[in-house]
């Protein structure tokens, strides 16, 4: 078996653009070879990551969500006991529609009323019958509801459900009404996040290009995008505000814009010292020159982490996750 000399990274396709920008720069600016960054999803990446230690396993897993406890223990069982968690920043999630169409100023409540499977009307739980945005909120134009939301495979879906639908559910008081209708709080929570299935909410299992293509095919559609994707396609899309806040790296970093999620990568500590350049890569990734607010990652659309310095320190010290 030949010794592997490049770093192997796998995981989230959301993190992939950032990781590849860093990998490219790492290859150009150091004597180490350019790391290999596979995509395939957070879960698949973590699964590979947790297969064990050794040269034929990957060194770093990218994830667009925090690693789950169950995954940590699965990792430990396979011998991956020491994991360094690195948060690189945040991914803003924005709502955008065709550039030539109507503009929207949303609140989570609007989305709940538009997409929930069941809503509360006059205190009664009834199936959602709203057909146009005007049915939801009289301020909106009578544009048919057609929402392209992330499919159930995407982590973004979870964020959308929790930060938009569930928030809207509470905001409108629907959750209380659900509980009042005789189900327990947990069930009510589930109901808050149940999306209607009559075709007005379209699951997208592909990526943002697919969502964009669907909006191009049907101009009434409103899609869920990552901030960086939107910023690269401002000629085709107009972004909606959420609770009055325009999404941008700044408004998300400050916490004003509510819909975002953290992005991570996980390093196998055991591989540091064995795989050449691994620690250097991790440090390079979170350095101010790259991950800082002025760096290329932010330039591309990453919301840089206000607590980057702490992260840098943790990487330098090889601090592993507690479990």
């Amino acid at each position: 078996a030949q010794a592997r000399d490049q770093i192997q990274v796998a995981g989230s396709s959301t993190v992939l653009p950032y990781a590849s920008i860093v990998a490219e720069a790492f290859g150009e600016n150091t004597d180490f070879p350019t790391p290999v960054v596979e995509s395939g999803g957070s879960s698949a990446g973590l699964k590979k990551f947790c297969e064990g230690v050794g040269e034929n396993t990957i060194d770093i897993a990218n994830a667009s969500r925090k690693i789950k406890d169950s995954e940590v223990s699965a990792c430990a069982e396979a011998g991956v006991k020491e994991i360094i968690e690195v948060r690189i920043g945040y991914d803003g999630i924005v709502f955008a529609s065709d550039i030539k169409g109507n503009g929207f100023k949303f609140t989570p409540a609007d989305w709940f009323k538009a997409l929930a499977a069941e809503v509360v009307v006059d205190g009664k739980v009834v199936p959602n019958t709203a057909k146009t945005w005007a049915d939801v909120n009289p301020d909106f134009p009578a544009q048919p509801i057609l929402a392209f939301i992330p499919g159930t495979k995407h982590g973004t879906r979870e964020v959308f459900e929790e930060k938009v639908l569930a928030a809207g559910c509470e905001e409108t008081g629907a959750k209380e009404a659900f509980v009042a209708s005789g189900i327990d709080a947990k069930e009510a929570g589930k109901k808050c996040m149940a999306v209607r299935t009559d075709g007005l909410a379209v699951d997208i299992d592909g990526d943002y290009t697919e969502t964009l293509a669907r909006i191009e095919a049907n101009k009434d559609g409103i899609g869920v995008f990552g901030l960086s994707f939107y910023e690269n396609n401002t000629d085709k899309l107009q972004v909606a505000t959420m609770s009055g806040v325009v999404p941008s790296t700044a408004s998300i970093a400050s916490g004003e814009y509510p819909v975002s999620r953290p992005l991570f990568f996980y390093v196998k500590k055991a591989h540091i010292g064995v795989i050449p350049g691994l620690k250097e890569f991790a440090e390079f990734f979170v350095s101010n020159e790259l991950a800082g607010p002025e760096g290329p990652l932010a330039q591309y659309g990453l919301v840089s982490d206000p607590e980057l310095a702490a992260t840098q320190a943790a990487v330098a010290a090889e601090t592993v996750m507690a479990h």
Binding site: S20, E24, P33, T209, G226
Partner: protein, 448 residues
């Protein structure tokens, strides 16, 4: 015995047609001929439907992808100052220091061309690709003898500027864009006039390597083309002989019993296994069990081999079945062994069918992405050319369809254009592969 029946055959139906002239077509025949004509038209229609869709698809591909073959670049003259280079080499992100040198040179160039910018250098640099610095640095490291001299560079323009020259980007479109402003376009217009900026044929798209999301203008498909080539080598070298050998055994030698039925059903079933499942198998068998390297074309080739085998076996078996048994008897009858009769007579006659299966199998393998996802060939992989032939099989690489798939997902529209351009190249490769097979097939084709 015959006398009893003879009259009725001779009289009844025959007399009906007997008197009729050949020159007038009776209604039954007319109906049949109409059916014949219809049938023929169905055939022509079917071929035309197929060709129509082919043309429609090719049109879509060409109209979206041809622009990828041109690329905008800017020529500047850069003075390679030894001190500046040495200080740049000391910093963490060395390329950012080179950017400063390039910025200065660009400004100089514009001033020389009498173009008024009124823009800070940092903003002005948005016209250039963010990969410009690494291009310069690579040159500098390779040519230490050029220190102190002034070298002309053709640096890539940024993807927005390139889009502007390709009519994809307009001033209105830049309204909300933070990567470029309308003011830049005024400068670009002036630069075009001054001949500083120009579109040229994009060789680096054909031969270059993948680039990260921040510099679409630099991305090329060359390395992943090589990855595909290595994979196809593996597939061809393994799946054609193995597939043909398996078919020969099953069709010519295997006793016809339960066991061969099991194999037969098995093979047909493997054809229906989704390709991603072959990826799961490849990950388990080749990477986790056999410890072959991740992301390597050899593994991809092996997985695709397993995936194409059923296609080749099924078509080869059908072709072998179609060879008349009399050919086999003829050979056996003059004392050829079964093996000889198969290899000397049956196999050459079955060759057209085998080649068809191979074409379709390879086409499928060449365009497949899903299994590659699981063995790590999709993502940001194809960033370096392999060092040698053996390295080509074992070092990480992507493949054309994976590269295309990856580009199609990326945010910058310039990548979308490249995805279509990549499809054009994929089809060119595919067709040149087919032509060989078709020539061979024509050689073997014959009706007996």
């Amino acid at each position: 015995m015959t006398d009893a029946i003879l009259p009725n055959v001779a009289s009844a139906p025959a007399s009906a047609t007997k008197s009729r002239s050949l020159l007038e077509v009776d209604s039954h025949t007319r109906r049949r001929n109409a059916a014949e004509t219809r049938f023929r038209f169905y055939g022509i229609g079917a071929v035309l439907i197929g060709l129509f869709f082919l043309v429609a698809l090719l049109w879509a591909i060409l109209s979206n992808g041809l622009t990828a073959f041109m690329q905008t670049s800017i020529s500047i003259d850069l003075h390679l100052d030894k001190a500046a280079i040495e200080s740049a080499e000391k910093s963490v992100v060395k390329t950012s220091k080179y950017n400063e040198m390039i910025g200065a040179a660009l400004e100089e160039k514009l001033t020389a061309a009498h173009i008024e910018t009124g823009m800070p250098v940092k903003d002005l640099m948005k016209i250039l690709s963010s990969g410009a610095a690494s291009t310069v640095r690579a040159f500098v490291l390779d040519n230490p003898d050029k220190y102190g001299s002034t070298v002309p560079f053709d640096l890539l323009a940024s993807s927005r500027v390139d889009g502007y020259l390709k009519d994809r980007v307009t001033r209105e479109a830049l309204a909300n864009d933070k990567n470029l402003d309308a003011a830049h376009l005024d400068i670009v217009d002036a630069m075009i006039k001054a001949g500083v900026i120009a579109k040229t044929f994009n060789w680096s798209f054909v031969f270059g390597s993948d680039a990260s999301d921040s510099r679409p203008e630099q991305a090329g498909i060359g390395v992943s083309m090589l990855g595909s080539l290595y994979m196809m080598l593996v597939v061809l070298v393994l799946s054609l002989p193995i597939g043909v050998a398996a078919s020969i055994y099953l069709e010519e030698f295997a006793p016809k019993n339960r066991w061969t039925d099991v194999i037969e059903v098995n093979i047909a079933n493997l054809a229906a296994v989704p390709s991603i499942v072959f990826g799961i198998l490849g990950l388990a068998a080749f990477i986790q069990f056999a410890h072959l390297p991740q992301s390597a074309p050899i593994v991809g080739g092996l997985v695709l081999t397993l995936m194409t085998l059923p296609t080749i076996i099924i078509s080869t078996r059908a072709a072998l079945k179609a060879v008349p048994p009399s050919i086999r008897s003829a050979a056996l009858g003059i004392g050829a062994s079964k093996m000889q009769s198969v290899f000397h007579h049956v196999l050459p006659l079955a060759m057209p069918g085998i080649l068809t299966g191979t074409i379709i199998g390879l086409a499928q393998a060449l365009g497949e992405t899903a299994p590659l996802l699981l063995i790590g060939m999709v993502g940001f992989i194809a960033s370096n050319y392999p060092a040698g032939v053996a390295d080509g099989f074992f070092s990480p690489n992507s493949a054309m369809p994976a590269q295309i798939y990856e580009w199609a997902k990326r945010a910058d529209p310039a990548f979308y254009e490249r995805a279509w351009g990549g499809i054009i190249i994929l089809l060119v490769v595919l067709m040149s592969m087919n032509i060989l097979a078709i020539l061979l097939r024509r050689k073997f084709e014959r009706r007996w």
